[in-house]
């Protein structure tokens, strides 16, 4: 908005708008989340209702009478019109109450947060493996483009991306758990079974992380390596790299410029991969019996546990929205070319 008096100073031409301050940008982005979150919650709610089948059949006695069925419906609030059900559900949700699991009777919030915490552990562990390895491989491949190094790394990356990772998980279990007996194949360590959540940073727990984390890291290694390879190769072929040599920079100094140029894109790829890892992998968590959100989701689906399903999806969706926001903000903070407007 042009403020009165601002354009009045004659002879002064403002060449470019100043970028929005970071804090304002952050607040604006946070504000945008509200409508998105409302939309997401409606979709989460409806998705589960659109799916065929009666959520109560699994816990209803086979010979339940009409009256008994109706009573059960009323108890779970399923007899009310959908908008009313949504209103009740979302009203409770904002206070942190997502109802109780039909199957276990425990509060959904607790179950979901334990599961998300476990998936987070796994995702972070997998990222710790995947990102450094992917970045280094990608950088080497891009730097030594079209050489043996590049071809070898590309072959590894493509294999990693195209291998079914649950299959890799099973192979790792057979080798390291069954044959060698080095690492456990199931669960998240002592006290983690049955949905309780006793995690500790000791070897008894961490050893449970190793195989699923490695399995989960293979695809992001491939994707990060491929992206960074293309990125670095592209940057090296740009004119400004030649100009950097022309002004007398040595190899190390030029590499620093290349890394700085590659950073924003590499970061956003890693952000997307992290988001994808955070969602939990149903297959991997099932192979390793890892009590994460993917595992919880698959249980909720198979048991038609309506409140659990809705709650899990809602929390995961919100999680993605925030992960996206964080990546965008970080990218805007480090890349001067992104205009924060």
């Amino acid at each position: 908005m042009p403020l009165p008096g601002r354009a009045a100073a004659p002879g002064i031409i403002t060449v470019e708008k100043n970028a929005e301050p970071m804090l304002i940008y952050l607040l604006r982005r946070l504000l945008y989340i509200v409508p998105v979150a409302i939309g997401v919650s409606i979709i989460c709610f409806l998705l589960v209702h659109i799916a065929p089948g009666d959520p109560l059949t699994s816990i209803m006695a086979v010979d339940a009478t009409q009256e008994e069925q109706a009573a059960m419906r009323a108890a779970y609030g399923l007899d009310k019109p959908l908008p009313v059900q949504y209103g009740i559900w979302i009203g409770k949700a904002v206070t942190g109450d997502l109802g109780e699991s039909i199957a276990t009777g425990r509060p959904v919030v607790g179950e979901v947060f334990n599961a998300v915490r476990n998936s987070l552990l796994l995702a972070v562990a997998a990222s710790f493996v995947a990102f450094p390895v992917g970045l280094i491989l990608g950088f080497l491949a891009g730097y030594f483009r079209d050489t043996v190094v590049d071809k070898a790394i590309t072959a590894v990356a493509i294999t990693g991306v195209s291998l079914p990772n649950y299959w890799l998980g099973i192979v790792l279990v057979i080798v390291f758990s069954v044959t060698l007996g080095w690492l456990p194949a199931m669960g998240a360590g002592p006290g983690s079974s049955g949905g309780s959540a006793d995690w500790a940073w000791d070897w008894a727990h961490i050893r449970h992380l190793v195989l699923p984390a490695i399995t989960l890291s293979v695809v992001p290694i491939g994707i990060v390596a491929r992206t960074v390879r293309a990125l670095v190769g592209e940057i090296f072929s740009m004119d400004f790299v030649q100009a950097l040599y022309a002004k007398g920079l040595n190899q190390g100094a030029v590499l620093r410029h290349v890394v700085r140029n590659a950073a924003p894109t590499a970061l956003s790829v890693m952000g997307i991969q992290l988001g994808y890892l955070l969602g939990g992998s149903i297959l991997i968590e099932t192979v390793f019996n890892w009590p994460g959100s993917g595992f919880l989701l698959s249980n909720a689906i198979f048991q038609r546990d309506l409140p659990l399903l809705q709650g899990t999806i809602l929390v995961l969706a919100l999680f993605f929205i925030f992960a996206n926001l964080i990546v965008d903000v970080a990218q805007a903070a480090i890349d001067p070319r992104i205009k924060r407007s």
Binding site: M238, F240, G248, N261, R337
Partner: protein, 337 residues
Amino acid sequence: MSEAPLLEIENLHVRFNGERTVHAINGLNLRLQEGEMLGLLGESGSGKSVTLKTLLRLLPPKRAEIDGTIRVNGTDIMTLSGARLSAYRGGDVSMVFQEPALALDPVYTIGDQIAETVMRHKSVGRAEAREVALDMLTRVRIPSPERRLKNYPHEMSGGMRQRAMIALALACRPKLLLADEPTTALDATVQIQILLLLRELQREFGMSIIFVTHDIGVAVEISDRVAVMYAGNVVESGSTRDIIKDARHPYTRGLLAANLHGVDRGTRLDAIAGSPPSLETKPDVCSFAPRCTEAQPQCLRALPPFFAPSPGRQVACNLEEGHSPASNGLTAAPAIA
């Protein structure tokens, strides 16, 4: 007797190997005196950029096969490596590129990019290097230079970016500036401003400039001397005045005719019928023969020798046979007796 030239290129050959072989430079000779402004003129693909990049050793060593001698201030630059090569690049000789938008690092500020060069070459601290950067931006007449130091390239206009690029190139006071079509990417009015700026800075700093252009009007306006390139070689060179008044090579004459016959300045040089050779094989006859209206039988038998119609002039054309003394092909500087 004249002093030793600042730059001597003797019998330079550059060949690119790869999917396609390109004989980009074929026996090029060039000399440049201190403080001289040379216009290097030729149509697209004639090897102007390759010549400059060879001078800064910027060609990919694996793909480019280079042969010949290049001496700057008496030093054979083909033997430089490591720290001495880094000190030479940007220190003794520096370059302004055609597209400032592509030649500046997009994620570093202008100030940082200039300061980085200064710190590399002058072993000074950051604060002092930034002082130099500020001084340079002032010298290239960038308005409000303090603010511009903190700008990223994308926050500047094309002309402003090219000024910043010139400031960067001159920050370490090189003896020779290579300007590769520095105004081609700019609007006409901005072009003239940049040309005038280069002229002024050349006087101020006393450096030599090789100014590459495909625009004969620009070359004539700015240079002391002009060298005309065709198919990877200098086919004619001499003082700007001699070239305008008495061009000998049919290619140069064609360029001048196309330019003087009312065509606006800035017109591309393809006003001469035909197109340049592909350079897939090494030329062993006159490369211009297919387009030359005055070609002789011997033009298709061997490379034309060099002639010296007057002191300081060189022409590689058989038409000079019997009119001008033969020459060793070295493009002599004007002062040579």
